[in-house]
Symmetry: C2
DNA sequence: TACATAAAGAATAATCTTTATCTATTAAGT
DNA sequence: ACTTAATAGATAAAGATTATTCTTTATGTA
């Protein structure tokens, strides 16, 4: 297991073994719901409390270490914060993939038309993945 | 109040006064959360049960009469189903606007690159609206 | 390296939020 | 008008999230 002590401290979070394991799990699995995270964590910390999962997810959200991805017809999943990207969701197998889509020109255009100052996008594309056609 | 009896029946739902009022409220307000819908409904039906709101929202979702819009950092809102569109969310005042963005070419491109069969998009653009600059 | 202290973890209670159950009422077809 | 299946309301139950309390621990400092 890699050590994420510094990453956590950079985000003003104490580097506890539980938190290191959360970051590790997210890095390994990409996107996780609270319940899948809890079950993964239970394997490493047999007496971990569900409240610890929620508390840390909220703290990490507040400190922008992680990001919440809201999915249609599914529970939210969490991912480590990275450069802006969109998400592909397979409606059959539930798999989630990151995809880099350059939306800048489009967003600029919309911004002008609507007079909205847009600074963030959440874009989820749903369908069937390669293996689920 | 317009009568949405036929709209409801077309979606295989009995046209009860409560349901007509829900459709009416959504048409009037555009996007509503469960709680705002409940408080609006209470004004018309002083003894309406919150369970009735949830039950009807779920039925209307199943019958595609309404659609759930999941927003970053906010509760879901519901809207009457209409042709595909994206959403603008003002982070300051919370206002939500529909915006028609033609994503077809973009989605086609992504579909080819990723080998995903994409048939739906959920696109929320967040920022500050005209009045909140 | 040990110490002090603020923060975090575990256990569990409390608070939402949503769904299920049960009975009386009602929409809709005949 | 009558019948019947579906719905509304009341409320309990279940599920999800947050708060509380006490014990343990990470981290800065001597």
């Amino acid at each position: 297991m890699i050590n994420y002590t510094d990453t956590l401290r950079e985000h003003k979070l104490k580097a506890t073994p539980q938190r290191i394991a959360i970051v590790d799990a997210l890095l390994l699995n990409g996107h996780m719901s609270t319940e899948s995270l809890y079950s993964i964590m239970l394997a490493k910390f047999s007496s971990i409390s569900l409240a610890t999962i929620y508390k840390n997810i909220n703290l990490m959200l507040e400190n922008s270490l992680i990001y919440e991805v809201k999915l249609p017809h599914a529970k939210s999943v969490y991912e480590l914060t990275k450069s802006s990207h969109s998400h592909l969701l397979c409606k059959k197998c539930g798999n989630i993939e990151d995809v880099a889509i350059d939306l800048e020109a489009l967003v600029d255009k919309i911004s002008k038309i609507t007079e909205f100052q847009i600074d963030k996008t959440d874009f989820v594309l749903s369908g069937n993945c390669k293996n689920c056609h």
